[in-house]
Symmetry: D2
Subunit: 401 residues, 4 copies
């Protein structure tokens, strides 16, 4: 290994930069997961995650990637051949759709252009047409990591209710939770899905389901085979702070610290901070004369910004130049966006100065790569952040379109 | 938390004590799992695990507990209703059997008394009787963590071959691999299953499958629904050092270090060390006048020793006394062994002096708890270890019955 | 480096084993030592050390080894040619005496046999004879690390008072503080000297002086040249939580944790624990048929035990055998004790099981090295510890001769 | 503690940001400093420091702050009343001068305006006038941390030689070594002094002297009392990789890593990187319409930039605003520069993006504090860095005035 001076900028939209406090919390001897000390840890993280999810429902924690929590949500609530309604918001919605098919579900997909969130009206229409209630679940991605577009989950809830449809609402908030507001109970989400390496600022390896009473009810008759993902045994053991099989103990140490950090900062402050970085980033992008992939201001992601390359330019070449010269990793364009966009992650353990460093890496990268752009993106972001700081209203600020 | 002086003795049969080198290796910033640096890490750990498994076949790594790797082995190779042959060696064989049933398999269970390993003759008989080859897989636990009994996997292989039966051989070596010899290819194991927190000296959170050509072939037609556990996408991405979904990157940092440590010490030395501790422990148990659960000398575990309590004494009370007074965690008796046995883990990152400390904790605990026993167990172990040290033959030694 | 399984046993009488909590506390970014956050740290450790020293006087902290704090005590209170009275309790008293001479003091040395503590009567006699008060300071080592002999500092104080002599009392409690009781104010100690790597469980690199009003007064006229060690600037900056030059910030992080740990356990419990290990160790030594260097029971060290080798046997060969075969470091014999004694450290972050492991290392080492001894030392220690545990009086116990 | 998102920017001119690799290297159990493994560590760091100092002379390492190494340089080479010639380049030269006086030396001080380096001609004149060679040493600060001005040590050497004067040349390169070129032997430096927390990227707690043959000769007759700092015993023990008293072992672990990192990057690359950041910073300062304290381009520091506040504005208020709003620590103005300058550290483990973040903190701070300035400083720095990156000549670049 050759030493490269300074800290790598990991500005992909997750895993986000893991703060030292979390890494250090994990750097401790593994304990007996059946001993009394463990139960305290188990109860603490299970209760803490309910606060983060804004739910009174139980939360289960899997030693697994987010993909596993997708699977858990499906196999616990559905039976082979069940119809589910999904919405093509981007690559992750597409992958989840593919998973549903693999698991033997009849997965309907409302098409999309990867630049918009879920269309609640389309959902309502489809559900209204489903008079015999063959659709058992509506599955939406709250925050599309591949496009930087947020969907209005509350509106989807209203659409389901307006259609008078009994389908479950399963929501992937993998890249949303802990960075943008998510209200599991208020929005009537039956199963919310997330994982550790985004807003929770952890390394990957843990994922989560919330379970509404209705979802739990569904799980009693759901016929898809399951064992590892089974909620029943999980809930039974969780009640006393334990897990049915070996939990990823050291990741749980980190999770405990992560929850403490989010609550110390205050969730509203966390959300305001992400909104501020998002606005600053878009101002930079516009100043460079580039285009943000997300088209509707109210749907702009606070977690990442996907930027369209000028015609004829390769996003991956730009990313490579930036990695080589400025030691920063940016997110790649996925699937049909490959080489067409790069994604700037501005989430997690992050502050004003690292955001400016990040944007400077992009601006210098554009310049170094010889890609036509206007200067001044960093300046625009910096002016905005200074203005917010001077106004003293950082914590109360709202998202600016 | 109140500070308790000295280091906790985690002498359960896994998770084992995680050495500092591994904890420190994990205590590093998470990297971009799609970047070039990651591919090197991925290739290194995938190749390293092949050495540990003694296989030329591919190994896949799941961000999951060992339970997940059990599930992966089944869902990738079998179809709903398939018959599998399992052997009741103890609690973990029983749990795996239960999982098979949950997943919709027809799981036959050859009964056992929890004090012996798999009976290869019984396997051969059963397979010979299965003339229409309805049995698709034989599933055995190489090393029963609940009883401290090892099964002879090579003999099971020979039994299958002697029966001329095409069933796959799926082997759980969760608590065996990295502590006792395991030869995936030589023994004709189609899928070997393990996880990170035993002989690999890691925290829990990673688990593994090896995949023989025959198993891979079976996976092409196996009908159980699967997505997260699917070998196909795994292998496809692994070929370039990547994973189809976010890997547990920081655990992989630790795994890389763990593999390096095992190879530095030399697998044969690792195995000899575990054999030495096992023999020393049994000498202590006998000196105390207590009984080892495992009945057949050639099947004694080198990883843990399950000790039967004298009639009328509670194993759990003893464990609680030892935890309170001597800050040591021992394994509990599981299922029908509950409160009847305690289990001493003597695996992983461990040396002569910590073994003696461990055995002293048991001897002092028996005394403190007022349980009738003979003194001299520690002395017997110590004399044995000193003798081995003096003979200078630590690395060549064989298991002593 | 070749991996050696298990944790090294660092059983020298300091540095002691640094607990993970302290290592992890140090593993944090260095902060601005002139910023507001630092002042809190500074005040916390300065106040905490007063509790450990049992003093109301100020404590100063040097980024230096204990040797530096010896020098600081001398140069701040004395002038060239001043006579000081020192007592030959062992190698460290001898080194301190040598330092005094190097610094231009007239250092008188009351001879000793390295098996006893300071003789208060001899001190009193000498001071009584010093009718013109040429002796400016009495310098004693509270706890001789080279011999495992403790001196009675309170008795030395009484001797000075009985002689009606105005000399300062400077006391090295380098290996005593934090392991055995030390009462700076009650015993009338003018300058107590310690460092970080013994009872404070830290790595080396910090050392300390307490400063009585009388010592401070002396420093105003003391003529030895000094700058780095100067108390005046230290005290001036310390008042606001700062230091006159860059402090060893990360070691201070560790110190804060160390103080917290000692206070969590409770100093009296800490002392009782060390007394217990000391008694257990001597029982083992006697059972082996070996001789403890310290001759007077009331002076036996609770921190380490120096053991005399049988005639004709080399202590250093035994230590080498133990290091090679059992991965344990023991203390060497120093100066005229070279190769004649080995020293077992039983201090700091240590518990019953690691003590037994330590003694087992010695017993197995004696055996492996072919040195004549009786078996049963470990058993004797173990029986004693079990008895104490059973009596439930671990925290109230007294030193047993 | 309240969690503050993101990483603190420690942009004081030392301690610099300690990279994770170094923190992690220190986060390891302390070893026996008299054992065989230690000797390897000792030899490695002693040899490594010779490479960094570019000397064939021995280097000694003290467990002490840089201030201690100043004292060591003086007390090892000089006698009470000896005259030394010092040059007032700023606060650290002033402090060193004060120390010399405290230690009983006759310290002559060539005055300065704190905006220039040492004037070699003035040195030559003074030495030429000293026909009876009463001046025993010339003491200069290579790199004044309080002003951001570098002195030309080679020119001082030539001045001494031109005067035909036998005085020793003692040089403080505390904030220079490891960031800007320093050639101990080529420049004829008799004692070079540094410490751990600047270019070596370590926490404070270690300091260093190089010792020329002439300095060693002087130490044999030098009369200042010394013990802790004594070179003789140090060199004697160092020869075998050991130290005469407990070394700060864990800091030595870090030092070993630090040396490895500097050599991996390559010293010339390290120097070029610092030169680049220095130039970029000055471009920002000028763009803001502010004034750099250092007046002579060839003397501009590559390690830090001291910036004069506009008339009537408080530097400390600006620093407080920046700390509060942007979580960045800047260096304060010292002594007569108090509140008149702030100092931007751009040294150590640092890269282009963190430099831009740093400068953005200043620009946003000026704005938030309502201090009149021109925008565009960050842009100027960014343009320069992008240009250097595009030119592909980062490693060969020279300092630009």
């Amino acid at each position: 290994m050759t030493y490269r001076s300074g800290r790598h900028f990991l500005q992909i939209p997750g895993p986000s930069n893991v703060p030292d406090r979390i890494l250090r919390a994990m750097d401790k001897p593994t304990m007996d997961h059946r001993g009394p000390e463990f139960a305290e840890l188990g109860k603490t993280v299970l209760a803490g995650m309910k606060q983060i999810f804004k739910t009174e429902n139980p939360v289960v924690i899997y030693p697994a990637s987010g993909t596993g929590a997708w699977e858990a949500a499906l196999v616990n609530t559905l039976s082979a051949g069940d119809r589910v309604l999904m919405c093509e918001t981007g690559q992750f919605a597409t992958l989840w759709h593919g998973m549903a098919a693999k698991l033997g579900l009849d997965a309907e997909f409302i098409g999309g252009d990867w630049r918009h969130g879920v269309d609640p009206q389309a959902v309502q229409q489809r559900l209204s047409a489903d008079s015999d209630h063959r659709i058992k679940a509506v599955c939406v991605v709250h925050h599309e990591t591949s496009t930087g577009v947020t969907s209005d989950v509350a509106a989807v809830r209203r659409a389901i209710d307006a259609a008078g449809h009994p389908a479950l609402l399963l929501v992937d908030t993998i890249s949303g939770l802990g960075s943008v507001d998510f209200r599991t109970d208020e929005w009537g989400v039956d199963v919310a899905i997330t994982c550790s390496q985004k807003g929770l600022m952890m390394p990957p390896g843990l994922s989560f389901n919330t379970i509404s009473a209705k979802a739990l009810q569904a799980s009693r008759t759901a016929g898809l085979p399951r064992s590892y993902w089974g909620w029943d045994e999980m809930l039974q053991h969780n009640a006393r702070g334990y897990f049915p099989y070996s939990p990823a103990t050291n990741l749980l140490y980190g999770l405990k610290e992560a929850i403490a950090m989010l609550l110390e900062e205050g969730l509203d402050n966390v959300f305001a901070r992400h909104a501020r970085y998002s606005e600053a980033t878009r101002r930079a992008v516009r100043a460079w004369g580039l285009e943000v992939l997300s088209l509707v201001p109210s749907e702009h992601s606070n977690v990442l910004t996907a930027v369209l390359m000028p015609e004829g330019e390769s996003a991956d070449r730009l990313r490579a130049v930036i990695l080589e010269h400025f030691d920063m990793s940016l997110g790649t364009g996925l699937n049909k966006l490959q080489d067409r966009v790069f994604r700037i992650g501005h989430l997690g353990d992050f502050n004003d100065l690292t955001l400016i460093g990040t944007l400077a890496g992009v601006e210098m990268g554009l310049s170094t790569a010889g890609i036509a752009h206007n200067k001044g993106g960093v300046q625009a972001a910096l002016d905005y952040l200074a203005e917010v700081a001077a106004s003293g209203q950082r914590s109360q600020q709202q998202r600016v379109a």
